[in-house]
Symmetry: C2
Subunit: 174 residues, 2 copies
């Protein structure tokens, strides 16, 4: 259901778009919270067209199909957003690795943590650059929350890694 809602949501926020557009949008926006390849997106769009959640216009230059969300599609995503469904728990390989850190020797764990810090710093640089950029239409409203959450999440991860590293250093010195 999540993929469907993500697609309807993107269509609702960005206006009519093609499968190709949506694939790109996925990558450049919610990638840190959800992902889908075009091989999953195209069939889902066709299914939704069959079910009347979106309409499709087949014209465009290269067999391009433009999808538009329908009234019913909007209702569907709105209901999903408002229901307190207990949302399936997150899956995050990075956090899993963090959890398994104690399986390593202190020096090894320290190496992994330092790499984590570097990765976070790199990601932060990218996100902060986007934040600084003079407001494109997308920065207001749509994408606003995503960016903010992404920044907070990355900073949180960085802080954690830094403090964990410091703790390991302290305890291995003693």
């Amino acid at each position: 259901m999540s993929l469907r809602m993500a697609l309807l949501g993107l269509l609702s926020l960005s206006g009519p778009a093609s499968g190709y557009d949506l694939t790109k949008l996925f990558e450049s926006s919610i990638n840190h919270a959800w992902q889908a390849r075009h091989s999953q997106i195209y069939p889902e769009l066709n299914k939704m067209a069959d079910e009347g959640l979106v309409t499709v216009e087949e014209d465009g230059p290269r067999g391009r199909k433009t999808y538009t969300i329908t009234e019913e599609g909007s209702r569907t995503v709105r209901e999903w957003m408002l229901t307190t469904s207990p949302a399936r728990p997150a899956r995050d390989e990075k956090t899993l690795r963090a959890f398994l850190l104690p399986t390593l020797k202190p020096e090894e764990a320290l190496g992994v943590l330092r790499e984590t810090i570097r990765d976070c710093d790199a990601k932060l640089a990218v996100l902060e650059e986007i934040e600084r950029r003079p407001s494109r239409p997308r920065t207001t409203g749509f994408g606003r929350y995503a960016l903010d959450l992404g920044l907070r999440h990355t900073r949180m991860m960085r802080d954690w890694a830094a403090e964990a590293a410091e703790e390991i250093e302290r305890s291995s010195r003693s």
Copy 2:
């Protein structure tokens, strides 16, 4: 591969355990970063036994099988931890919902955010209770990082929701 590494990691951290134990351990430890039902765990343990990553002792009261990680299993998980594999990106339905918040009317979004805050507070209460609890064997080392990250993540989410809510209130007053 992640499930396999999670299982090997847990076996490495907790010592020999049964599939049942591991299912429970999964729920009580890395649940917020990775999940698996017993229907996924049991077959994976059998496969790993075939491949020599774990050994199995079939005794125990109720047909209980006890799995122990082997040298090869340890090597496998260690290599995985140390390789900079670009870790598949996270999937988090809650963040997806957050991202789609702008599809809602301000009052509706506000409602969702307030509920998010309540959920985070509830989760924080649980985690902080665990943190306060006099150190059981698991709180040191194993589980230490997981708990810390869980706390930080939940606080981050709470702060984000609170500030987003405040921002919506401000802009709807004007």
